[in-house]
Symmetry: C2
Subunit: 511 residues, 2 copies
């Protein structure tokens, strides 16, 4: 039975318990873990490590590098146990977030395409141990990943030792869905020969010298994913705005009927907006994205998507039950790549993607905050949104116009943290409408964003700010004393809303 | 004599005066001009147009798209005459700046690699007329550019009509230095096959159907470039810091002895820092940059640079006199490419450039403002700095630690405009020292930037801000009420310096 999954004879002798593997991890080490958006993450060894440290009470810290976020029951327990010194490049876990924001855990928030490059260049130090989840190990001893590829290839390549978590719960049908291409070092690199979303460039398993694999741990547990928030009335309206815009682009001859390969960021809003394609007229769609969420599989089921390329498959628990047991039926229309390839500027720009990502807040000039609540507290991280927005044919950001029951406006005078600058943001979509910022100067953008995207409750305040700023002049007019006044008001009064905003607006007027 | 330059018989019949050509430009048109960093710009026709409009007093506005900045006597007089409605993607002219900041001229500040892509996709409207400076027109009627390529290829391709300014003052020796490669439309594009700085991919002249060329104007005037500020003691020290850092990278095995292809942004500081390589041990250097300034030619003369690829040659008036008459001797070590190729993420990342660009201000977390004085007034534009910083192996920003006689600190709590986010900035260099931010969390970066890069006069204030912010917590601690207080103080009091900063710092202490 196990031989079907662990096909190399030598490695069959290296089976160990998670507890034993965990003893190999020493204080001060840097560990590279498989896992991307909670999919295909190393599970048993990190948890055994936490148990060991808890029991021994030893003073213990390691650096943890991953693909992106990993399961809550891995990131969360490691954070809680206080064993992480440095963590990169992305996370999305409550307990970890709390340690990050208290300054106890050093968090480096990176573009997801950058990590492999920096590891390869030696700019992030040496990787001591890579722990990679596998659905199988081949005759040669090569590692077949599970539901994500993430940074596993570069971790395995650069690590001194590798631990494989062979996960019997992940369906063997996953084998063959991966396409693992090694770009090679900068300066000695050939063009990446990818010109279509369905093209295959590399191997199906991660090559690794046998002697580098120190142990194989057998596990039997599916990814711990979160339930996804279902599309609601507002996200449905946002999807309508977006689809109407794309329809207009097709009509204007700027997009073909089948659009261009689509990317959608992680999260419920982006997933819900993507969901809108289900009832649209568009067919033969292509996806070139990082994470493939529920909506992608709904669209595959509906025959709307021709082919989807991603770096991970992150499904709600319910959708997991439908997809994984029937994976064979999806396999010929799917490929999973290393995040360096799924998020590579070279490919994103060549294919001319339509990139749809979620904003936390947007300012009147089109700068986007994707990460920091009130400018200071980390939410999750920038993820791949910058890789995509900067290089896409259309860099689209979606957000509901208000949050927290209307006390927070997602459209503000000045974003409290900038992840995407005005130079990288083409389109803003809220449930209120859409702003097409291409070819517009900052003042034109401001009028459009305020009138089309902001919530009506906040428009008078926004107009008043913009008007006062324009009286001072400048390419990007601001009243610096008031630029963050909305955030400060929220912190003090629990709302960004001014008391007499409507009257103020009438008095001031808009030019 | 003219036949040597204008080799096509049909086109020899289309000679016109600048005045006549200017009559073809109608109110409301979009005009694409050759020119990049004041080099190879269309000169006579735009000026004749300004004269015409001044004389007639007609109500007249056009959109002007260029490569980057064009000569002051073109951008300046057009701005002064008020004939520009919309201008992109870069400028560096005093009179134009003033119109931009008053809101009279709509300025779109773009990544220099993005403009061609957006023109090709139709996202910036149609180009009515392209006006391109040429050193020669071939037998087929193809256009040989002069000292820059810029966006000329895409303007010629997409324009309804083309006017050629055949410039007899530009040396014919320039012919052959250009390499004009067409990437083709997104989604139907092959990889750009460039894997070395000296590789040639395309043609030496811009192909254009004969019938598209409406007229040829003969001109006889060199580029109007500005004198460059010579390296001073502070830029020399900055160069020393940078070179010591690169030496360390070589020692650590992260860079080869010949480093990696170098890029340097436009401007005196970047040029001066580049100049520092003259006295360094490094040889066989390669340059893959947008603008090739004086320092590149000094380094070519000194045998330090093996090969330089750029998009324009912008020399001080003095250096022009040395280089242009002797251009043959440089030609085999030079190539000029379209800015879409010189600044293409695909190439920048593949080659793994070392990118050196100038910052206007930097904040304690490593965000960079390249464009806006006090957050509102446009200086020049982002230019190619974003193309390079994001995709380079090392994204380096240089700035003197103070400006305006010490009343402005270039290191501030929160930059008043963000062009490059914390995710894209690897290294900060001032005359005070260097901060290597790779792999560091925001709080670590802040300490390093304050202690290594800030001017000693401002360190106590910066420490006090950071300390107060840390007491509030967060991944990127800030005191939003005070984030822009330095800029506000400068606007009110003419200095960012607090009166009792040193005492304050001693009281607060630094953790």
């Amino acid at each position: 039975m196990l031989e079907k999954r662990l096909r190399n004879k030598t490695l069959q002798q290296r089976l160990v318990t998670p507890q034993e593997a965990a003893t190999w991890i020493q204080n001060g080490m840097t560990v590279g873990l498989s896992g991307f958006t909670q999919a295909g993450d190393a599970k048993a060894v990190p948890r055994a490590l936490v148990e060991r440290v808890k029991k021994s009470g030893e003073s213990f810290k390691i650096n943890v590098y991953t693909g992106a976020s990993i399961g809550s029951e891995v990131d969360g327990v490691m954070a809680e146990a206080g064993i992480i010194h440095r963590r990169l490049p992305f996370q999305a876990e409550k307990r970890m977030r709390s340690k990050i924001n208290s300054g106890e855990l050093l968090y480096i928030d990176q573009h997801l395409s950058h990590t492999a490059e920096q590891v390869r260049a030696g700019a992030l130090g040496a990787i001591d141990i890579a722990i990679v989840e596998a659905v199988a190990v081949t005759e040669e001893g090569y590692i077949v990943p599970t539901t994500s590829v993430g940074n596993s290839c570069i971790f395995v390549e650069k690590a001194k030792e590798v631990i494989v978590e062979l996960n019997l719960a992940q369906p063997l049908a996953l084998e063959g869905v991966h396409d693992l291409y090694d770009v090679g070092p900068q300066g000695k690199r050939q063009p990446i020969p990818l010109t279509g979303v369905d093209q295959r460039l590399g191997t199906q398993a991660i090559p690794v010298p046998l002697e580098k694999i120190r142990g194989i741990v057998i596990t039997d547990e599916l990814d711990t994913t979160s339930p996804i928030v279902q599309p609601d009335e507002e996200t449905a309206v946002m999807a309508e705005h977006l689809i109407a815009f794309l329809r207009g682009e097709v009509k204007a001859g700027r997009l073909p009927k089948t659009l261009a390969p689509l990317q959608s960021g992680i999260g419920s809003v982006a997933n819900a907006v993507f969901h809108g394609f289900l009832t649209s007229e568009f067919t033969d769609l292509e996806v070139y994205s990082e994470v493939l969420q529920d909506a992608v599989f709904d669209l595959l089921d509906a025959g709307k998507i021709r082919f989807a390329s991603g770096c991970s498959i992150t499904l709600s628990p319910q959708k997991t039950k439908q997809v994984l047991p029937n994976f064979e039926k999806y396999k010929e229309r799917l490929v999973l790549r290393p995040q360096e390839i799924s998020n590579h500027p070279e490919i994103i720009r060549r294919l001319g993607l339509i990139a749809i990502n979620t904003a936390l807040e947007v300012d009147i000039y089109g700068n986007v905050n994707s990460t920091h609540v009130m400018g200071t507290n980390m939410m999750n991280g920038i993820g791949g949104s910058g890789d995509f927005a900067r290089n896409a044919r259309l860099g689209i950001f979606v957000t509901k116009s208000v949050a927290k029951g209307g006390t927070i406006s997602s459209i503000v005078p000045f974003v409290s943290h900038v992840d995407h600058t005005e130079h990288d943001v083409d389109i803003i979509v809220t449930e209120q409408g859409i702003a097409d910022l291409r070819g517009l100067s900052p003042r034109e953008r401001a009028r459009l964003i305020i009138e089309n995207c902001a919530h009506p409750d906040y428009r008078p305040q926004l107009r008043a700010y913009f008007e006062e700023a324009c009286q001072r002049g400048g390419q990007t007019p601001h009243v610096l004393e008031k630029a963050f006044s909305w955030h400060i008001r929220y912190q003090k009064e629990g709302t960004m809303l001014e008391e007499k905003s409507e009257e103020t607006a009438v008095e001031v007027g808009i030019k």
